[in-house]
């Protein structure tokens, strides 16, 4: 890791350790987020890391943003850190739109979503928008008159129907009914700024968050099984329990490294193969490691107050957000098949680029 990124990670870890304790995460479930944490993050400029300074962001690259997201995932941070900079901020900056104050969210063209733009009048229905009701704006891509636009829709003008994921993080449905958008809210979308690109970034973000959560799940599982005594010895001495620990560790490492490589190769944009492989690996790792971690913990892991559940409920949610394992595997498989058998190995063996 570069020295700058290492420092960023350390500073962020300190901040989350102070302001995002397991108790804070439980407390945030009532409202779906932590204002105090958000204010501190915003004060440090963390939410807009990877958005160019010239566009009002904090600078840095996609790998910096993903390093932060990995820390955030580890602490189960209940704030739209990924959505604000890496997704919404990126699209706004690319389209030359202003980066508004406050948390932002994004819509990536989920099935059933509709966005209709006529001039500056917006009629849209966007579902499962992360922290949609909490955000000042929701960024979406709309087709109008044969052209593509980036839309920065004010949440205040929408009707919000709250929804939640398994970890009680807001996933809201927002409806704009023929709303006149402000002038600073629409601009033509440059090439490469489209729902598929936003979804790819979303999948990369969730992969990084899953990697962070899995690293913490590994630590908790090793610690608990080393302390918990049954039959007169720590349960980590039993081979059957060791097998769970190894499963958790290897899935965490596999998903973590795949996410890191995908983030490091995003110069400036993430590559499809990297992200598809990383998100599929993250989803599978989330499933397998969560199961093994709960098995290793026994009943304590099933309680709300113990930290494990804050992480596993996020793993069970994040694995499906911005596309699940099967969805990314299928799309990757389609692309690989199109290139034929002899291209398969060269594509697989493309790792981190020098």
């Amino acid at each position: 890791m570069s020295d700058d990124r290492q420092m960023l990670t350390e500073v962020a870890t300190g901040l989350f350790r102070d302001l995002c304790t397991p108790e804070d995460v439980v407390a945030a479930e009532a409202t779906g987020w932590s204002e105090r944490l958000w204010d501190a993050l915003a004060g440090s400029g963390f939410p807009t890391v990877s958005v160019p300074e010239a566009a009002g962001g904090s600078g840095g690259d996609v790998a910096d943003a993903c390093a932060l997201l990995t820390v955030a995932g580890r602490f189960a941070a209940p704030v739209p850190l990924a959505e604000t900079g890496l997704l919404a901020g990126w699209a706004l900056a690319a389209a030359g739109l202003e980066l508004p104050e406050g948390p932002l969210s994004v819509a990536v063209g989920r099935p059933g979503d509709t966005v209709r733009l006529t001039g500056r009048r917006l009629t849209a229905r966007l579902s499962r928008v992360p922290w949609g009701g909490r955000s000042t704006r929701v960024v979406a891509v709309a087709e109008s008159g044969g052209q593509r636009f980036v839309v920065s829709a004010p949440t205040a003008a929408a009707t919000v129907t709250p929804g939640r994921n398994l970890a009680a993080e807001p996933r809201d449905t927002l409806v704009w009914d023929d709303v006149e958008l402000p002038e600073d809210a629409v601009a033509p979308a440059p090439d490469g700024v489209d729902p598929a690109a936003l979804r790819l970034r979303g999948a990369l973000a969730r992969s990084a968050q899953i990697a962070g959560a899995l690293a913490r799940v590994t630590e908790l599982s090793v610690r608990y099984t080393g302390e918990r005594q049954q039959f007169g010895r720590p349960i980590a001495r039993f081979q059957a329990v060791q097998a769970h620990l190894v499963t958790i560790a290897e899935e965490a490492q596999l998903a973590g490294l795949a996410a890191q490589v995908a983030a490091l190769n995003a110069r400036p944009d993430p590559s499809f193969d990297d992200v598809a492989a990383a998100k599929a690996a993250a989803g599978e790792a989330a499933t397998v490691a969560a199961r093994a971690a709960h098995q290793a913990h026994g009943a304590i892991g099933m309680t709300k107050e113990y930290e494990l559940g804050q992480l596993t409920r996020r793993l069970w949610s994040w694995r499906d957000e911005f596309g699940g394992e099967r969805c990314w595997s299928r799309e990757l498989g389609r692309r690989l098949a199109a290139e034929g058998a002899d291209a398969l190995w060269p594509r697989i063996s493309t790792g981190l680029l020098a």
């Binding site: 596999l254 492989a277 599978e284 799309e331 190995w345 790792g351 020098a354």
Partner: protein, 377 residues
């Protein structure tokens, strides 16, 4: 535990391109890919590969090798395995015996064996397992007795791969009696010539009927003093470190890759279900490759990533097996080694041989114990 992301340098990429070009020219278009490092024993191929400098890469030049890095070896090995090249003759000597000779061998032993290994001409088997000794290597009963000028060795080794074709094997045996509470002491490694008087090699048919395994019975085989490998009494430490070297390379996750490629080659197009299988396997291979390459880079940096290597082997060998089952389900065919479809025939071979992947070089269960101890540390 740390797996750092690492990229191939331009020189490493150039090496890869060279190997790809060589394989495209060397392997005939209708070649049946070998599955994994033990897939096919072909001395001619090993010698040709050696002429290119791709055997004995880790052996220093003064011993006839090439003094290359672990990552260079990784690059060559993954290209060979992905292509299904027949590397079975030299691979074990190159991967396992050469590093042991370098670390523990005498100068004379290095000069005697390493040039032949690097030339792709001297092949080794492993002499660890016995009828009553598998994962618990300290329980070996093969015994060496002091005689003038050396030792006489008596005992039986089993599951000795390719002993009928190879030249030597490093035998783990007791050179002093087992003492209560110190079962790992008193073991030594002796290099035994497989053509020496008193060595009797008999086939143990492999479950597919092929001749791969052997029983090697040693009856008062004379081994001169200068064929003791490393310190007398340090055999256990030596073989366990030897196991660490062999753990995390591409040979632990690429054995069945050619089955996937041939499956794709025989598809006219892919359905959604087939695309999902292909994407999952390819994505996972990619992710495991990142881990495996990371360990090679760490080795070059002088680290001793034993736990990481155990994890890679555990996850990699399970992947090799998962790939086979995923393709079997997707193909919906009946298995027949004699099938006219190369894919079906390879799949059948893979089903029959893949159980060995999670056994050889340390069973999955033993690896999990190694890794779990490392995690707790």
């Amino acid at each position: 535990m740390q797996f750092a992301p690492t990229a191939l340098s331009p020189a490493e990429e150039a090496l890869r391109a060279e190997v790809r070009e060589f394989l495209a020219a060397e392997l005939p278009p209708d070649h049946r890919p070998a599955l994994g490092f033990a897939g096919r024993h072909d001395p001619e191929f090993s010698r040709t590969l050696a002429e290119r400098g791709w055997v004995g890469m880790a052996i220093p030049q003064e011993y006839g090798g090439h003094g290359r890095s672990a990552v260079d070896r990784f690059v060559v090995a993954e290209e060979l395995l992905a292509a299904g090249a027949p590397i079975g003759a030299h691979f074990v000597a190159d991967r396992q015996t050469a590093p042991a000779l370098l670390h523990f061998g005498t100068e004379e032993q290095r000069r005697r064996f390493l040039p032949g290994i690097a030339a792709g001409e001297v092949y080794f088997s492993l002499g660890m397992s016995e009828p009553d000794s598998g994962s618990d290597l300290a329980s070996v009963r093969t015994r060496a007795t002091r005689v003038e000028g050396g030792w006489t060795v008596t005992g039986t080794k089993v599951w000795t791969s390719e002993a009928h074709r190879n030249h030597f094997f490093a035998v783990l045996c007791r050179t002093s009696p087992m003492e209560e509470g110190r079962k790992h002491a008193g073991l030594s490694q002796l290099v035994v010539d497989l053509s020496a008087p008193g060595v009797r090699i008999s086939p143990i048919p492999y479950l597919d009927g092929s001749h791969h395994f052997n029983e090697v019975a040693l009856e008062e085989v004379f081994v001169p003093d200068d064929m003791v490998l490393g310190e007398l009494g340090s055999g256990w430490q030596q073989v366990t470190s030897e196991l660490a070297y062999e753990r995390s390379g591409p040979d632990r996750w690429l054995s069945t890759f050619p089955v996937l490629r041939e499956w794709l080659r025989e598809r006219p197009g892919v359905t959604d279900d087939e695309a999902a299988v292909l994407g999952r396997l390819a994505g996972r291979a990619r992710a495991i490759r990142h881990l495996s390459l990371s360990v090679a880079r760490a080795l070059d940096a002088g680290a001793a990533p034993a736990v990481e290597a155990a994890l890679v082997k555990e996850v990699g060998t399970r992947f090799e097996q998962d790939l086979v089952e995923a393709l079997r389900e997707a193909a919906g065919t009946e298995l027949d080694q004699g099938s006219g479809s190369l894919f079906c025939s390879l799949l059948a071979e893979a089903v029959l041989t893949s159980p060995s992947y999670t056994l050889r070089g340390g069973t999955t269960e033993v690896l999990r114990s190694v890794a779990a101890k490392g995690l707790a540390a």
